[in-house]
């Protein structure tokens, strides 16, 4: 029986279903004190690894708290009393709970508010290890299993060993979730939106994350068809891999630059810089996920990617909050957020916050080949104002003797006003076409609304004509033009984009190979 869902990360997986939605289990005692001690140490190690992976994407305040928790967990003085109690016959969970409760009582007894408040941190630390201890007693997913549940937390994804295959099948979930992004960058097949499965799933299932679906209790004919699709997918991927390491060139010998779009600094970890021409779009919204990031946090995030890219350019987009990406303390609630205070409009309205990002960018610029672009530019005045803020912050850094560099400043072409009348922007350093937003604004069809999905097409002549006219304007004025929307990595759209005059595309990292393969088939 086949159930249809939405593909979130392409690929095929065949394996047993492993249920994610199960009630938490109790800790299972080990046979000896040595076993209990090993279980406690493993649980502490697991809690530390979990916190460390969270630190990566946290802002400075959150990172400060996480670092404190990690330092406490790594201090043998914290586990010492628990290990002593295990030695005298206590199980690991009870020993840890008693040891931490004693520590917590010490904080609760403090006459200082601040130290009393740390009792909550100690409780958190206690519970993280207790959780890791009881999870240790859970039945682990067998290698190659298809994890099946309502949704999956990012930590669960990161803890899973994907080297033996496997995949993710979610009843709910979203293609835009963090896990979906992680799955795409690691090549783990994932399908979302399957809904509640009528059958109690058992046995081997077939996950088709190329088209979006799962087959339960497959018939021999279904297994046969699945193997055919998965091997032709593998052949297609394998063929594309041979293109990965080579520079992209069309059939006619025209070179095309192919860069990557990234959302997190850690996205570059799995990419060989030799396989791409730099970063065409580094989003910065991740920094603004939970709270406003400070300058140091931003500086380090930007610097990390710049150093990875070496001499190749890294285009960082200033924060594109608002729209569907609200940030507490920054964005405003609006009835029509896609047409409201988002992107550069919001940054110019909240200059205190924008200036912090500008300083971080100016300082990071000395570590590589940085370019900066502004999202949602509609008028030349917005660009001038943003550029003036860069000049002001640059002068302030120079006065303080802080090392910095002013990067080339460009704009996203995603508001139709810019694409229709680009001549107002003859002074910008570069254009980057945001085809997702440009398409949704030209076609008046939201990209997150399935009911109007057929309208939301970059292939519409109106959209392609605008792209071609921006490319022509750039050639005439000597302004580089690139494209960083989803269309850039879509083999079905690439021929039309190259015919429209584009020679610079930026794609999701897993699409590098297929995009280069598609470029090789075009005869412009």
């Amino acid at each position: 029986m086949r159930i249809d869902g939405v593909p979130a990360s392409p690929g095929y997986a065949e394996g047993p279903l492993f249920e994610l939605d199960r009630p938490p289990v109790a800790y299972r005692r080990k046979a000896s004190p040595a076993g209990e001690e090993a279980a406690l140490k493993a649980a502490i190690g697991k809690a530390v690894r979990r916190l460390t992976s969270l630190t990566d994407a946290a802002d400075a305040d959150a990172a400060g708290i996480l670092e404190f928790h990690i330092a406490m967990l790594q201090d043998d003085a914290l586990s010492g009393p628990a290990i002593a109690a295990i030695g005298s016959g206590e199980p690991a969970d009870a020993a840890w709970r008693q040891a931490l409760d004693a520590e917590i009582a010490g904080y609760e007894a403090s006459d200082q508010d601040y130290f009393r408040a740390r009792a909550a941190d100690l409780r958190d630390i206690r519970d993280q290890v207790l959780r890791a201890l009881s999870e240790d007693s859970e039945d682990a997913a067998p290698p190659g299993a298809i994890l099946y549940g309502t949704d999956i937390p990012p930590t669960r994804f990161l803890e899973t060993d994907w080297s033996k295959g496997g995949g993710i099948a979610l009843k709910a979930g979203s293609t835009a979730s963090h896990v979906a992004m992680l799955a795409r960058s690691r090549g783990v097949p994932m399908v979302v939106g399957l809904g509640d499965l009528a059958d109690k799933p058992a046995g081997v299932a077939l996950l088709d994350a190329e088209h979006g679906g799962i087959v339960l209790s497959p018939s021999p004919a279904e297994i046969e068809a699945f193997h055919q699709s998965s091997s032709s997918f593998a052949v297609q991927q394998g063929k594309a891999q041979t293109f990965l390491i080579q520079p992209a060139v069309t059939k006619a010998g025209t070179p095309v630059r192919v860069r990557v779009n990234i959302a997190y600094p850690s996205d570059v970890d799995g990419i060989d810089i030799a396989t791409c021409d730099g970063v065409g779009l580094m989003r910065t919204e991740f920094l603004f996920g939970k709270a406003l990031p400070d300058e140091e946090t931003q500086y380090h995030a930007y610097r990390r990617v710049l150093e990875w890219a070496g001499e190749k350019p890294v285009t960082i987009r200033t924060v594109d909050a608002g729209g569907d990406k609200p940030v507490p303390g920054f964005t405003v609630e609006e009835t029509n957020p896609f047409l409201g205070l988002r992107g550069i409009r919001l940054s110019l309205a909240r200059r205190d916050i924008f200036r912090v990002q500008i300083r971080a960018l100016l300082r990071a610029a000395i570590h590589g080949n940085l370019k900066v672009m502004f999202p949602m530019i509609a008028t030349a005045e917005e660009y001038s104002q943003a550029a003036a803020l860069f000049a002001e912050e640059q002068a302030a850094l120079a006065a303080r003797g802080v090392a910095h560099r002013l990067p080339p400043l460009g704009i996203m072409v995603e508001v139709p006003s810019v694409a229709i009348a680009p001549e107002a922007f003859a002074n910008v350093a570069f254009f980057s076409i945001g085809s997702n937003d440009l398409t949704q604004y030209v076609m008046a069809a939201a990209r997150d609304n399935g009911a109007v999905a057929p309208l939301n097409s970059v292939h519409h002549p109106a959209v392609l004509r605008l792209i071609a006219s921006v490319a022509a304007f750039g050639r005439e004025k000597g302004i580089p033009v690139s494209l960083c929307g989803d269309a850039g990595g879509d083999p079905a759209a690439i021929p039309a984009l190259l015919e429209a005059g584009l020679r610079d595309l930026s794609v999701a990292p897993p699409q590098l190979a297929t995009a280069k393969a598609a470029i090789a088939d075009v005869s412009v």
């Binding site: 400075a60 305040d61 400060g64 708290i65 670092e67 404190f68 330092a71 406490m72 201090d75 043998d76 003085a77 914290l78 520590e103 010490g106 904080y107 403090s110 200082q112 601040y114 130290f115 740390r118 941190d121 406003l292 400070d294 300058e295 140091e296 205190d352 912090v356």
Partner: protein
């Protein structure tokens, strides 16, 4: 013969030797080979300055005179560096200024 050093320093940071400063303090202490100890009174009890659990448990608020002593290689440097860190308010104000 092993080197030893001792010093006192007043904690001026507004909430004292709290979570983030303790992380910095113990990290810095761990960067020295010498044994380093701290106490909130001249007569102790002395606790390991490299253990964040012990340093936090000392619960030293603003206005505490922190006693620091070290023994072994680099004892002088260790005490000097830790006193310096406390006097700089653990660089906390600088961090806050940056997050403005």
């Amino acid at each position: 013969m092993s080197a030893s050093a001792e010093a006192t320093v007043l904690i001026t940071h507004k909430v004292g030797l709290h979570a983030r400063p303790s992380v910095k303090f113990t990290k810095l202490a761990k960067s020295f080979a010498a044994d380093v100890e701290v106490a909130v009174a001249a007569n102790g009890p002395w606790v390991d300055a490299k253990s964040i659990v012990k340093v936090m448990a000392a619960k030293a608020p603003k206005g505490t005179v922190l006693h620091i002593r070290a023994r072994g290689d680099g004892a002088q440097e260790a005490v000097g560096a830790l006193v310096d860190l406390v006097q700089r308010d653990f660089d906390e104000d600088r961090d806050h200024a940056r997050s403005a």
